[in-house]
Symmetry: C2
Subunit: 379 residues, 2 copies
């Protein structure tokens, strides 16, 4: 066979990749530990190679440690955090299920939209962007709706609020409700203990507290959540994220499901290994200390934090944009003149706050100093 000539389009001519070096102090991605980045530059193995299967087992063990869970079904979803979010809902919800979603920021709204697509009867409860829910308001919603699933964000990336989760599992279990928690901006940087707190479904991402590039995302199901999945009458309406198929690849059967993003799994394994080497409680402490240093330095130049200190995330800080200042223009100058990325406000907080992340490898005093120096110059 001789290949026929092209009909139309000529080949584009491009230069080799050339990327500026930025300090990523926005809501994520954050900078990657160089050891993890180097692991990306490792030749791929086959997705059923015994050596690769061993790496998958290590990822499972390390994720259980970082999340403090014994859940058998604890592995990575082959996509970014949003895919892992969708995986929890797709597997937990059957059409017609009542689901209570606690909305106190952008990602609560996303949970509502996703849950509806999976046929849930969603009851959203709302809290001001910048405050956590009280236990009483959640209790009311559970008692009123007796939902199959209660979904709540631990660390709202859009507001910088840490939602206390202790005590919710008792309420949930008393009403046959599964507790589903977004730990995207908490995993690796904010204390979280899935089993002690009775969390049934959780997801996260790789590019924040884990200091890994985005593309492979932590996911876990408790035995209670698995029991609901086993009893569902129809197939999970999402093939790629179907946990009944994924467990056959991640578990002992090793049945081919999809080609894993091999190099992303290398990086995730290394990121988790380094976190275990540091010790998860030391990582939590480091994030807290550096965040407190950031807050004191920002306050010293007259800036105000949006969230009360008690509920402020150590990983992501929302800083109020002072009156008369064009927040977007400042962020653009920081990016283009100083190579520092900070985030703008999202949704209700658009134009009102900057979002400053100190996550994973970036949670270090010298990054606070570099940011503050730049802030002083541009403000």
């Amino acid at each position: 066979m001789v290949t026929t000539p092209l009909s139309s389009q000529p080949a584009p001519t491009l230069s080799p990749l050339n990327v500026p070096q930025r300090l990523l102090l926005g809501p994520g991605p954050s900078n990657v530990n160089p050891v993890v980045l180097a692991a990306m530059n490792t030749p791929p193995l086959g997705h059923l190679d015994p050596d690769f299967l061993g790496i998958m087992d290590e990822i499972q063990t390390l994720l259980r440690y970082v999340w403090q869970t014994q859940n058998r079904l604890t592995y990575a979803i082959s996509g970014t955090g949003t895919a892992a979010m969708e995986a929890t809902l797709a597997n937990a919800i059957e059409p017609g299920d009542r689901v209570v979603v606690c909305v106190k920021g952008y990602f609560g709204h996303r949970l509502v939209d996703m849950a509806q697509r999976y046929g849930a009867q969603v009851h959203a409860i709302h809290q001001t962007w910048g405050q956590p829910f009280s236990k009483e308001s959640i209790q009311n919603a559970i008692e009123t709706h007796r939902p199959a699933v209660l979904a709540i964000v631990h660390a709202e990336t859009s507001t910088g609020v840490r939602q206390p989760l202790e005590g919710l599992s008792d309420l949930c279990q008393a009403h046959g409700t599964l507790l589903l928690v977004d730990t995207v901006t908490s995993m690796g940087g904010v204390p979280i203990k899935l089993d002690e707190w009775g969390i049934d479904l959780a997801y996260s991402c790789s590019q924040k507290g884990l200091a890994c590039p985005p593309g492979a995302s932590p996911f876990t199901l408790s035995d209670r959540a698995y029991a609901k999945l086993q009893k569902r009458s129809g197939k999970v309406p999402n093939w790629y994220l179907d946990a009944t198929l994924l467990e056959k690849y991640w578990g002992s059967e090793r049945v081919y499901h999809h080609t894993a993003p091999i190099n992303m799994y290398y990086a995730l394994r290394e990121a988790l290994r380094l976190l275990a080497e540091e010790g998860i409680e030391n990582a939590w402490e480091r994030h807290q200390q550096n965040a407190e240093y950031l807050w004191s330095q920002l306050e010293a130049i007259g800036l105000q934090m949006h969230v009360a200190k008690e509920y402020r995330l150590p990983t992501l800080t929302t800083v109020r944009i002072p009156e008369g200042i064009d927040g977007k223009a400042i962020a653009r100058r920081l990016l283009l003149d100083y190579n520092i990325e900070v985030g703008g406000g999202l949704g209700e907080l658009g134009g009102k706050v900057w979002r400053i992340g100190l996550m994973g490898y970036n949670s270090r005093p010298e990054n606070v100093d570099r940011l503050l120096q730049a802030f002083k110059e541009v403000l």
Copy 2:
């Protein structure tokens, strides 16, 4: 806040990542061009950084070239090829739509399963594993069922068959049917011209003909497919893969949807750039020549190909396992003693064939020689 001590699990202790170097001559992933692999080791940018948005534009331009299409909606899905497969179905199908799936191998069955999950009334037609469909049998199915979508695999990774696609679009358009094509094992290695052949929806992967790691997967929609999407009555029942949301991120609006797998996009951009530099028609010709060399060398040691030469893929060859030979044991020896991966049979061809890929960077005569030397020693 002082972080509370851990309740239970101690930190696992692991050595740094240590991965053997394999020559990946199975059905994929294949080895990655070192330039592409090095691009993975580039610090991430933010997913809304102007420099990153420029890279996304380049990916779109390059994908249009490699697929030979002008489709505006041509971009990468942030997952592996299976996610891109699901993206085409999730966006094309509305509940109750009739869908004809041409099943002549494992991935046809996967299309059936996925399409059913999106509420399609699926009519599968079947062909022997190892042969293509005739145009007549497809015409019959279209005339009988008048489906909304006809789904067919161009290059069946499980059988090594190339399905001729020329002429199908006339049949489809005459009956208001969208033509959906799996190009996972053809893109970059087997001639394909989406616009000339009137293909409405297509998907692929990065880890075969493109010589990139897996994790970011080509996806495209024609104007006809987009028109159907615009008219649907409900939301796409998959949030992560919803093309109406994705176009706002990939298009001029630049609305945040999900955090792209930044480093995977770097790699995909470089892999596509190198393919454009080689020239897509030269890449097709190279794959054909090296495959013919492989076939002649395998025949010279007495092995038989499973597929007639006319329909044999240049990217993936199915070789019959001779009587009395334990195919699995041979593959295992090649892997562990020679660091060469070849694939076993899948589904109906389990135990009957080896699957040998010569894809992307691996399509080179020296790889054929190395494989043949090893084959001669183990057989």
